[in-house]
Symmetry: C2
């Protein structure tokens, strides 16, 4: 294999791969490698940790077709460090990849392309298309609610489904929960959402999709198979093995009726939460919300350290109430809403709180209350 | 105690304190606290971990003189988070400090000022004065060579001494070594450098002095006592307990004669080192230097990963030679020299290398060689 490639586009390709390879594998593991395959159409690259795979194509002038797998992290470090606009790569003696630029020569240990794990192909006859900014918003509004705790396997991903909006249009909805909070977010799409047996996409894969969405202009294609989902961006494809678990019936936890509705300026509440969280107890981040007609008083107390109190203007419909919430959870919700004001729907002291934008019905957030001492 | 203070200057004062308090102490330790003392002249602040102390003064409108010690980290976090231009502080019930701004109210657990450790006063009748940019350069050119290993107590600081330059002028010289490399850097001063029994200033104190030097315009005053040194900046004073150890006779390790001299462009060598270090073995960061008449060839090899080679132009006086060095150590030296070209003075394969600016005799760097396998 031998090719010349523009340094900038090689860096971009290898940066994409870096989120998909196994960083714990060490230099000798094939799962920490990128597979490079050069032929007359340019350079193809593949990175995988066996559950997530990225495949892409980049322009290169290939003088000798071939393939090799080299440590992805070392290769990216080298291509970033060298100078000049182009990089010359060549396999030498079947065991090394020589990388040359300017007065620099590197030889990386390489493995034959045949050692590289094969990603099973996916039948993509049925797929949907969605605008990249809509998919980015959906992921921003849901991924923070996915359980980080690996013991809750069925909650370690986001659930995809098709819903019909109030105006009759068909929407892609993504739902995530960790048991203490839940988010859903939706947007219109074209084509067909054909979910197979499973619909739960692992968090790590969606985080990488979100990262690669930066700068993408064309519609994104998404297809589901029985065991995997595929997301196709401008010039690369992400293949994700689905979680072998069922997402809970989340509609059961969504309250239907509310005794209280409150409207508050989003940034004011967010800034007040930031300050009152300084003295929230470490574990539950518990903040007390005392809602009266025109004011929420937020307060917190931390043993041996001190206490804090904040007042925020609000419009409350319903009786005054005092409740406790994990302040960090509410703050995360407020950070992914873009409207100037937000609507809080409240029940009794131990009922969940629903947070919505006042401008849009495209997302909904549920935060469970915490008991106040 | 009760005072009103400009938020910006309160943040600046508390940021200074943050490097001096004991961060491991937890919220209840007096050593993680800042002592605030308010009287008609404004607000004084003190932070200490018992070996390092900072004392400063800041303008404040004091309506009730008094003093209190509160957790320094919590207070800084609060003052940064609140809004508005001024902050109102008041002791309440003798056990709390109330901090108010806008719609925010905080109450921090406080301790009586009398609990705070007293820093012993220092006889400062004899002191030197040095320009702040000269002291900053001296510290930048030496502190990276101080031993980070706590077991080498006698090398955990920088040695201060007075020397006479080639032109007969009197200079403050600071020297640091960790046994594998040595740096000294010097600059003129006025006044008197009166070292007592000990001359070894702890690294952590000098790192904080360097941090606080940013933006200082007036000359800095330095005085030594028997057990401590004091550095006085614009509006704060740093008190450092000296290390109870003797610095080695560093002049013994400085070679007097050289068989070879090489001149090289500093940035070219530094960039080549950055790349060749990618494949240097982790422990010694060993890089091979093959010096011929007009070229240094740098090379490295890392087991199972690969190898690299770089060529850099040089002018060599003397016979060609091949040596090994810790590439990171040389790179750190090159990063604190500002001249376009540097002079390398070389002996035999296992002799130390001396690095100097070609423009200035105000600093000198020694790097010990490593054995090549």
């Amino acid at each position: 294999m031998e090719f010349i490639i523009a340094r900038d586009s090689f860096i971009q390709a290898l940066s994409r791969v870096s989120g998909f390879v196994d960083k714990k594998g060490g230099n000798s593991s094939i799962l920490s490698s990128v597979l490079l395959q050069a032929d007359s159409s340019g350079l193809r690259y593949t990175g995988t940790d066996k559950t997530l795979t990225v495949l892409g194509q980049v322009a290169a002038t290939v003088s000798r077709p071939g393939e090799a797998a080299v440590d992805a992290s070392n290769l990216l470090t080298i291509v970033k460090a060298i100078s000049g606009d182009t990089v010359h790569c060549a396999s030498v003696d079947g065991q090394r990849l020589e990388v040359r630029a300017g007065a620099s020569t590197f030889r990386l240990t390489s493995q034959p392309g045949g050692e590289f794990p094969v990603t099973p192909p996916l039948d993509q006859s049925r797929s949907l298309r969605i605008a990249p900014d809509a998919l980015a918003r959906i992921l921003d509004q849901t991924l923070f609610s996915v359980a980080g705790d690996d013991n809750r396997y069925g909650l370690n991903g986001a659930h995809f489904e098709q819903v019909t909006a109030a105006d009759g249009s068909t929407m892609l909805r993504v739902v995530a929960t960790d048991g203490n909070r839940l988010s859903w977010s939706q947007a219109p799409f074209t084509g067909e959402l054909a979910i197979g047996r499973k619909s739960l996409v692992p968090r790590k894969g969606l985080v990488e999709v979100r990262r690669l969405l930066e700068g993408v202009k064309s519609d994104v294609e998404i297809a589901f198979g029985e065991r995997a989902a595929v997301v196709r961006l401008d010039d690369c494809t992400i293949h994700m093995r689905l979680l072998e678990a069922d997402f809970p019936d989340y509609r059961q936890v969504l309250p239907n009726a509310f005794k209280r509705k409150a409207v508050v300026t989003r940034v004011e509440l967010s800034e007040a939460l930031k300050r009152v969280l300084i003295f929230a107890q470490d574990s539950s981040r518990s903040v007390k919300f005392a809602c009266a007609d025109e004011t929420i008083t937020l307060s917190s107390r931390k043993l041996d350290a001190g206490e804090s109190k904040e007042e925020v203007r609000m419009d409350l419909q319903g009786e005054p109430i005092t409740m406790g919430f994990n302040g960090r959870f509410l703050q995360e919700v407020l950070s992914v809403i873009s409207s100037e004001r937000v609507l809080l729907e409240l029940g009794d002291t131990l009922s969940p709180c629903i947070v919505k934008s006042t401008d849009s019905a495209d997302a909904l957030f549920v935060v469970m209350p915490v008991r106040l001492d």
